[in-house]
């Protein structure tokens, strides 16, 4: 559906040459929600702008639906862009137009006649849940409502692809969730391919099928969301995963316990999919002579299954504790014995 081959973008600034995007290869499948995560300055914003040529790549090729955007002239590009919707962090609505007129804007550009425009705008207003607000001006709407207008506007010309540029970063958590739900909804209803960039792992976790992690202009890790959650390879990915799985104070709590003397072991369990729903702890206590103290735990729901982490402290005879840990490993649960915060030794 979307193929990026060795895409590069070089900016020449006063302070020298900046490789904003440095040789990115990606394939995004039809109908999936693909997330790109990275800190600010990682190049993700430039990357998503190259998908509709708002930024022209210095090198490499961008193909959408088998059409090579990089070889298009301006006129072809304008027509191609009508097929690629885009929504923005700051919504970018025209304040001089009402909701209805804003949604109508792309239809005017593509030359749809007035009668059909009115009909289509009504459908879109219903689709994004803004019935009754059609004649309001953007200044009269909340952030979430503005983004709904943005989404309606981006869908007006029935695009195949929707690009989301930090679409929820300016919204509060509750509104973020409602916008994410809307995106999933239209992804299912319209079979739309969605590419989004964000710095919040929460967004990736909630709606993405696959994710790419960007750092310094490169994609450093890529894969299905659940898999990246389970086995994050790079430090940056691990940090992002921690954003959603571990509350911030976890490290401190565990550090505190480790420093205490004793035979007890602190273990981090990682559950993926079905295993997240099994009563592992009671099983453990019944089978072994150990005390289990639950320190911290969290289960997150991704689109392809649950993902959870649990920090427990196991106390007992060293031999028994070892057996107990071995037993957990047999349950398709990943076990990490924590001896020092930040450096976990995986028992094998």
């Amino acid at each position: 559906m979307i193929t990026l081959k060795n895409v590069k973008k070089v900016f020449h600034t006063k302070d020298g040459v900046v490789n904003a995007v440095d040789g990115v290869n990606l394939t995004i499948n039809k109908g999936e929600i693909f997330g790109v995560i990275g800190y600010s300055g990682a190049g993700k914003s430039t990357l998503i702008r190259m998908l509709n040529m708002l930024e022209k790549p210095t090198d490499g090729s961008v193909d959408i639906n088998g059409e090579s955007l990089t070889s298009f002239n301006n006129k072809q590009l304008r027509i191609a862009r009508q097929n690629i919707g885009m929504i923005f962090q700051h919504f970018n609505l025209l304040w001089s137009r009402t909701v209805r007129e804003n949604i109508s804007f792309p239809l005017e550009i593509s030359g749809i006649n007035k009668k059909e425009r009115i009909k289509r705008v009504d459908e879109l207003i219903d689709l994004v849940g803004l019935s009754g607000r059609g004649d309001s001006y953007p200044s009269q709407l909340s952030g979430g409502q503005k983004q709904r207008v943005g989404i309606a506007r981006s869908l007006a010309n029935n695009p195949d692809v929707l690009l989301c540029d930090e679409a929820t970063s300016a919204l509060d958590p509750k509104t973020t969730d409602s916008i994410l739900n809307l995106l999933v909804d239209i992804n299912k209803k319209l079979g739309l391919t969605i590419v989004l960039i964000t710095h919040e792992m929460h967004v990736i976790r909630k709606i993405c099928n696959r994710v790419a992690v960007m750092e310094e202009g490169r994609v450093v890790e890529e894969g299905p969301v659940l898999e990246v959650f389970r086995t994050p390879k790079r430090t940056i990915t691990q940090d992002f995963v921690k954003q959603v799985t571990e509350p911030e104070e976890t490290e401190e709590t565990i550090q505190h316990l480790i420093q205490k003397e004793g035979h007890s072991q602190i273990v981090k369990l990682t559950f993926v999919g079905g295993t997240a729903e099994r009563p592992l702890i009671s099983d453990l206590i019944r089978k072994f002579e150990v005390y289990v103290n639950i320190l911290q735990g969290k289960i997150s729901q991704t689109r392809d299954g649950a993902y959870g982490t649990l920090f427990i402290q196991i106390d007992g005879q060293p031999e028994t504790v070892k057996e107990a840990i071995y037993h957990i490993q047999q349950q398709e649960v990943e076990v990490e014995v924590i001896t020092n915060v930040g450096i976990g030794n995986t028992v094998s």
Partner: protein, 224 residues
């Protein structure tokens, strides 16, 4: 009527009315032409700026130079400088029509800068959004740039129109006609202070009306 005649003994109301119409005529034509010329210059200034749609340094420099020069020349000197040009264009250097070239050339650069400032205030993201929808440059100009800066364009032309009225009065001194000529020739040179006074009051009324109309439309179009 009698009261007015005793209060302003030297005022010939018919002349006054005629002068008012002349001033209004010059105001109407010069404001319209200044609006159009200033809008085009302002748009070109904005569009040829770095990072904008028609980024073009040489063109930018030429327009900016033209605007800066004509904006800086004091109006009364500009009239004199433009005498050959006016004579060529209108055939005479006297009368309302002869005042128009200087008025427009003096005011359009002033308004062009205001247009440029108004356009710069537009959120770049909105222009980007329009591009992402496949809008042409022309569509971006008349569907995004102009509507989104409309309140500032209106308040700008209001300020310019009021400046033009003072230019028109100045032009009156060198024979353009209108209330300026009346106040200068009949009022000042013949020591008829009542004529000067009434001319001033009428000019003030015109200015207030323009300001009021301008404010009204600025507010009406501003949906922010």
């Amino acid at each position: 009527m009698l009261a007015l005649a005793t209060l302003f003994p030297n005022v010939d109301w018919e002349d006054m009315w005629e002068a008012t119409l002349e001033t209004l005529y010059m105001t109407g034509i010069s404001v319209t032409a200044t609006f159009l010329l200033g809008l085009i210059l302002g748009l070109l200034l904005f569009l040829t700026e770095r990072g904008n749609l028609w980024q073009n340094k040489p063109v930018q420099l030429i327009i900016a130079g033209f605007v800066n020069i004509f904006r800086s020349i004091p109006f009364i000197i500009l009239i004199i400088l433009l005498v050959p040009f006016t004579t060529l264009l209108v055939g005479t250097m006297l009368g309302a029509n002869a005042a128009l070239p200087a008025l427009i050339i003096g005011a359009a650069p002033f308004y062009a800068r205001m247009v440029e400032i108004a356009l710069r205030e537009i959120d770049k993201g909105v222009i980007e959004a329009a591009k992402s929808m496949g809008a042409t440059d022309i569509q971006i100009i008349y569907k995004v740039l102009l509507p989104e800066s409309l309140p500032a364009l209106i308040s700008g032309i209001t300020v310019t129109a009021i400046a033009l009225i003072s230019y028109i009065a100045m032009a009156g001194v060198v024979g353009a006609g209108g209330l300026g000529t009346l106040a200068y020739l009949d009022g000042f040179q013949r020591y008829q202070n009542d004529v000067t006074f009434v001319s001033t009051v009428i000019i003030l009324i015109i200015v207030f009306i323009i300001q009021w109309i301008g404010d009204f439309f600025t507010q009406k179009t501003d949906k922010r």
